[in-house]
Subunit: 343 residues, 2 copies
DNA sequence: AAACTGACCGAAAAGGCTTTCGGTCGAATG
DNA sequence: CATTCGACCGAAAGCCTTTTCGGTCAGTTT
């Protein structure tokens, strides 16, 4: 129940309301509600009952004003559409929500002006900290100099080395994928990936190349094949590669979409996956990977973990622990049918 | 620049800092900054310059405390994972962000306890209103009685008729899909859809049935075929239906995933889409629909619009306009290759 | 009986901002 | 010269909560 009013939604009860109903001062009501010592048990009970009947919830604004902390953080995303931001955001929301922290969500839609606008609004609301979530691993310019609160960049690291960033280890992801294919007994491995402009694509390719080199091998065709992040590119690349390199026996794909295309292309060419050829995708996008034929092994970037760690780093920074640099978290392989070891 | 401090991130400047630097009282500083009249131009300039130099941003908490309005709303989602919540959420964030409203994001993860926990936190932060975003169109129990702020339910309507809900018109979506297939000259239309437990599946099937009936037709097999929302089910259903009803010439699928499966099944059975058979999906999930072979015509639920309208309704309610009932917004067809009229 | 103790409660201040109202001062008016 | 009048500025209250500190009162102690 809430304080009766003019017929609108009842207004929220205040401590004064509770105190009046219980016949005590606001100071006493506050102490009773917050479990402070100097209140008689009977008085406390009276206050608590009043609070209960009024559905009293202390005004966090007033409390924040007093304590100098709001218990809120801003989550500034560049692009809610992209499916990479969402898991990061979920992980962060998870880490914060479990505590007593509420999260402001702001979508800048890739617009720097809008980002600054949101930044001002968040600072004016006195958030205790900020997480900036990017949609690509390419480093981004920092928010601006000398902010009054700590900032952590997630997924897309900051260009400024003094900032704190948490992202995924793309080079190592390339290594993981290749070693997985090698462990399936594959030696003629092709890498079909997306837009070469994407840092992630370059890094994974580098990781793949280095790993093969350390085994005395190289990518089929001597290089990675960059294209777009689409099924169509995967199909086309699979066909072309089969024509030019008949002995290819493994595909490391830059996304699950590309992998779906590659699988289609291989099936149409009469190749058996995972019998003749192993295929591994990237992103572990459940809808695509689990519904592929055969089901698709994929690299999972642990994006929720990226979000959670970013939240933890922000917590630490709010508590005064200075830190900086880019923290790269490892990926993991989720094995499904497309890379089953052949019996 | 911010107020110099002990070496930590500088603390945010306050109005008192600005006033001191400009050599005026806080009252005058406030009036100067907010464009009130009773300030000499020269004084105002001095204040504004001080504010600029200190990067002064008025403390929204203090202002909210005073005005009784915070300019914040809560976005309570049941499930961030599901891809239906996200667009709704984006639409709402868009509508609010354009104004001066900041959005608290809370993910209840389908847990009623957690939802209540978040609700209390939001009320304690004195949000001006709430939007509750569901992940299915099935009506849900309301948050609780007599809240001190208005609430709008989005996508998943509230069970309580006095609440305000904005959702999508699933029955009409069924009609749209069928009329589209009819306009392609199809008469033997099958409906392959997902879990019968989902209200959306039932409503769309009902819309499809009624529309066919009004044209003196009925669904192939005399009923809708319910299953799961997966590609596998789509493939299986396509095969089975082709066996039992050789003359089927149109598929209305309950999701783009199902449609992808159906397309696969038809291709493998040697049927030509859109030559022999037209296929329409549901959700207009770009990655699936645009990458299908042929590209998939699909029903778009305009979920961002649902979010935007929910935000508008909430605005109106905050401004005192009482309203209630379920508002159902229309869907739209996005035409691609899979239903091209045959030449 | 006087002084003291401890338990309990309330007045008041602080936090940052806006608004109201009263005060100051130079200029215009009678 | 005395009064009135704007223009401009500052003191103070209020929003809601928490915390500090001082006060009251019954019961103990010497």
């Amino acid at each position: 129940m809430t304080v009766a009013d003019d017929g609108g939604p009842a207004r929220a009860a205040t401590l004064t309301d509770v105190a009046r109903m219980a016949g005590v001062s606001t100071a006493t009501a506050s102490k009773a509600i917050n479990g402070r010592a100097q209140v008689r048990a009977e008085t406390r009970a009276r206050v608590l009952e009043a609070a209960e009947r009024l559905s009293f919830a202390p005004n966090a604004l007033a409390r924040s004003l007093l304590e100098g902390r709001t218990g809120t953080v801003g989550l500034l995303t560049s692009d809610l559409e992209g499916r990479f931001s969402i898991p990061v955001l979920m992980g962060a929301e998870d880490a914060f929500g479990a505590g007593q922290v509420s999260v402001f969500l702001c979508d800048a839609r890739g617009d720097a002006i809008r980002e600054q606008h949101h930044l001002r609004a968040l600072l004016s609301r006195r958030v205790d900290g900020l997480i900036v979530v990017g949609s690509r691993t390419d480093p981004r310019p920092p928010l601006g100099g000398s902010l009054p609160v700590p900032v952590v960049y997630a997924y897309a690291p900051s260009l400024h080395p003094d900032d704190m960033s948490v992202t995924t280890d793309s080079v190592d992801a390339g290594r993981l994928a290749i070693e997985h294919l090698l462990s399936c007994g594959r030696r003629r491995i092709a890498h079909v990936t997306g837009d070469i402009e994407h840092r992630a694509a370059q890094d994974r390719a580098a990781g793949a190349r280095e790993t093969l080199a350390s085994h005395g091998l190289e990518l089929v065709g001597g290089r990675a094949f960059f294209g777009s992040w689409s099924e169509g590119w995967g199909r086309a690349a699979a066909r072309t590669l089969l024509e030019r390199f008949d002995d290819v026996d493994g595909f490391f794909c830059g996304s699950d979409q590309i992998a779906r295309g590659v699988l289609d292309g291989l099936r149409e060419a009469g190749r058996d996956v995972p019998g003749d050829i192993s295929v591994i995708g990237f992103d572990n996008w459940e809808v695509l990977a689990a519904n592929a034929r055969p089901q698709l092994t994929s690299v999972d970037m642990n994006l929720e973990q990226v979000g959670r760690v970013a939240a933890q780093r922000l917590f630490a920074a709010i508590d005064g622990e200075r830190a900086s640099g880019v923290e790269e978290l490892p990926c993991r392989i989720v094995t499904r049918e497309s890379t089953l070891p052949v019996a």
